[in-house]
């Protein structure tokens, strides 16, 4: 499958609210057939970005192009290409699954047998075929997440956009959803999705854009990001402020970043995790440094994020 055709092009996209800049001029492209991830902590601007890509939020500046069509100039045609799966359960709990699908299908001009066939098909994809006539309010969270995705797929979009599709569900439902997304992608569906789960992004995505405070701070394949930016990190917490001589011995292994003001918590970024750890344990033996904790992290997207921001993604 060709991965060279651009399906979504975002240029200098900005959103400013009265008090703050939620998205500060981001640019990226998503190629046909790609599984593209927007990874970042809560409040990084991911949902605002999704809102601007799908016509829900008016951008302050910049440009969105979907299959070569400018979203603000030709919104009707451009929006038809996108299937949105919002973070919330965006449907009506007092209606049945079938009634919800009918409503959203009609918004895209679908009707009659074509609509009924498509409804049955998408309910099949998310394993809800036998629940069409059940009121959605009675669904479990996992079923609701699946219906949420089915509605996004209904009008056969070229690009499926999902905002944190696995939030708030148990591990089993989560795996089922990720598996169906992977299958959809293998069948040719282009997927753009946001998450703050590192493992998910690492496993699923062909490419990842890391977002923080309204900016994209890195964009590449997970492997390339980890190779170029991801070092091992040892998180250290001391009882008391550490003296300079001690620091000298640790600094031989890599850079130290202080995480707090009173210099009790620090990150050591290193290529030689094992050797650095031995040295630290040796220091602990000789009681020259009083550690509370030593926490070793192997290189992954989390350590990439720490390298770029000095903060942990999960915090």
């Amino acid at each position: 499958m060709s991965m060279t055709e651009t399906i979504l092009r975002v240029e200098s996209l900005r959103k400013r609210y009265d008090s703050a800049e939620a998205v500060g001029g981001i640019s990226f492209e998503v190629r046909r057939g790609e599984f593209f991830g927007l990874l970042g902590p809560n409040g990084a601007g991911k949902t605002t970005t999704i809102g601007m890509l799908t016509g829900w939020i008016e951008p302050t500046g910049g440009r969105v192009e979907i299959q070569g069509m400018d979203l603000s100039a030709r919104p009707r045609e451009a929006k038809k290409m996108i299937g949105l799966v919002p973070q919330n359960f965006a449907f009506y709990p007092t209606l049945t699954a079938g009634e919800n699908l009918t409503f959203f299908g009609r918004l895209y001009g679908m009707r009659g047998k074509a609509l009924e066939d498509r409804k049955a098909f998408v309910l099949g994809i998310v394993s809800l075929a036998d629940r069409a006539d059940q009121s959605v309010g009675t669904f479990s969270n996992g079923m609701k997440r699946r219906l949420n995705i089915a509605i996004g797929l209904l009008h056969e979009p070229a690009l499926l956009v999902l905002d944190e599709p696995t939030v708030g569900i148990d591990a089993q439902s989560r795996n089922a959803i990720l598996e169906s997304l992977r299958r959809l992608n293998l069948d040719g569906m282009t997927v753009l999705y946001t998450t703050h789960y590192i493992e998910e992004a690492q496993d699923l995505c062909d490419r990842v854009a890391i977002m923080d405070r309204g900016k994209i701070i890195a964009l590449d394949t997970p492997r390339a990001l980890i190779q170029s930016l991801g070092k091992g990190i040892i998180r250290m917490e001391f009882h008391e402020t550490v003296d300079e001589a001690l620091l000298g011995r640790i600094q031989a292994y890599g850079g130290i970043t202080w995480v707090d003001g009173p210099r009790k918590r620090a990150h050591l970024e290193t290529d030689r995790t094992a050797a650095a750890l031995r040295e630290l344990l040796d220091l602990k033996e000789t009681s020259q440094a009083l550690f509370n904790t030593l926490d070793v992290m192997e290189p992954d997207l989390e350590t990439v994020f720490i390298h770029l921001t000095g903060r942990a993604l999960r915090d």
């Binding site: 949105l84 001009g109 009008h155």
Partner: protein, 422 residues
């Protein structure tokens, strides 16, 4: 259009499944009409010390009796007399005009010959004076009859007192003679005879009371039938109920915002205007159904007469538009469901009270009456009463409908300026 219908159908489905909302919108105003019309009517009507009724007085009497009646009336609690406007004594024309405009519910007209005829009564019982009441047909009959009764009693008493010396002279003049000593020994007998005389005067000895009371609506108002309590309560509580759409409408907007369904709808190829129209239309229709239903209750249970249907429809269409506009405004001001619920209930009740839906505006003090003109409710009620009570037609309700549409326009402009889909 297809999309508007889709949104309308969805909203209608959701609404019909929300039994509580439907109960609030349909059962509540109907229940209010029943309870208030039957039970509480007398309770909140005016004419008490704290909420006096203003009565305009036109005194044309050449003698002093008219002035004495006025002085007596000034001492009555629950009535405030108005004899002048801007320092000029009221004329009959002016009083009629003020009542037509709804400034006063009642005027009292004392004719030129009032004293003269009263004094001639003892000689010739056919010489009865006539006092005229001019009233606003839109005023509650119960209220009017109470106040008219009080005024009639005071006038009859004053006429009786004024004519007492002449009557005594006529009764006993012959047997006592001008120089007879006061017959103390027969005082028991005398007391009985005075009582008989007073009773006779009150009844008018078969010719009706000593004063004739004429009651008619102000000139220019449709004459004849007076409004019933129902004809005032049904439109008032209908308007009250119509504005409860605020609650359902605004909270449904907030819910869609919160649930993310607006986000999803707007990601489909449709405009925000299409979404808004599709979303508001069902609530507009619900309002119209409410109005039809409430008026049907009035007709079926109380035999209310409706008047010109086209005029009623025009007022109703404009009223529902104003209610929907205010609903969207509430939705645009509140951030959470609790906020819009609180604001909706507050506005629905306060504006109804201010507009004269719960307590008639004519018993309110002056500044409250002025304030009521700033509610769409007061104009809707005026429109309905023009048609139902005063028998007016399409042309005459256009000003009220126009003002309601202006209210709606203001609400929509402000709401659309403030409203955010996210």
């Amino acid at each position: 259009m297809h999309q508007i219908l889709a949104i309308l159908a969805k909203e209608a489905k959701i609404l019909t499944r929300d039994r509580q909302a439907l109960a609030l919108l349909f059962a509540m105003p109907a229940f209010f009409i029943l309870v208030m019309s039957y039970a509480l009517e007398g309770v909140f009507e005016g004419g008490s010390k704290s909420r006096p009724v203003e009565v305009a007085v036109v005194n044309l009497d050449q003698g002093g009796l008219g002035r004495e009646v006025i002085s007596d009336l000034k001492g009555v609690e629950g009535i405030v007399l108005l004899e002048t406007v801007n320092g000029i004594p009221l004329t009959q024309e002016k009083a009629e005009e003020l009542i037509r405009k709804g400034k006063f519910p009642l005027a009292l007209l004392i004719p030129e010959t009032f004293s003269e005829r009263a004094m001639a009564l003892s000689m010739d019982p056919a010489q009865k004076g006539a006092v005229t009441f001019i009233h606003d047909p839109a005023t509650s009959m119960r209220l009017l009859s109470g106040i008219k009764g009080t005024i009639q009693g005071i006038i009859l008493r004053r006429v009786l007192l004024a004519t007492l010396p002449a009557r005594l002279l006529k009764e006993w003049g012959a047997e006592m003679g001008p120089f007879s000593p006061f017959p103390g020994a027969v005082s028991k007998n005398m007391e009985r005879r005075i009582e008989e005389m007073v009773a006779k005067a009150g009844k008018g000895a078969g010719n009706g009371p000593e004063v004739t009371f004429v009651s008619r609506p102000a000139q220019g108002h449709a004459p004849g039938r007076l409004p019933s309590a129902t004809e005032q309560n049904v439109p008032a509580y209908t308007i009250f109920g119509v504005f409860f759409i605020l609650l359902t409408l605004a909270s449904s907007f907030i819910q869609e915002k919160k649930e993310g369904t607006f986000q999803r709808i707007l990601s489909a190829p449709l405009s925000k205007a299409t979404l808004l129209i599709g979303k508001l239309l069902p609530y507009y229709l619900v309002n119209l159904v409410q109005i039809v239903l409430m008026f049907s209750v009035g007709v079926a249970l109380f035999g209310m007469k409706l008047g010109n249907p086209a005029a009623l429809i025009i007022v109703s269409l404009a009223l529902a538009l104003a209610a929907n506009g205010l609903g969207l405004l509430v939705a645009s001001l509140g951030k959470t469901e609790a906020q819009v619920n609180g604001l909706s209930v507050f506005l629905a009740i306060i504006l109804s009270a201010l507009g004269g839906m719960l307590v008639p505006a004519y018993v309110m003090p002056g500044f409250m009456k002025t304030l009521s003109l700033f509610t769409p409710h007061a104009w809707a009620l005026a429109g309905y009463q023009d048609v139902i009570v005063r028998g007016l037609g399409v042309r005459q309700v256009l000003p009220e409908a126009g003002i309601l549409i202006a209210f709606a326009g203001l609400f929509f402009i402000f709401a659309l300026w403030k409203f955010r889909f996210h």
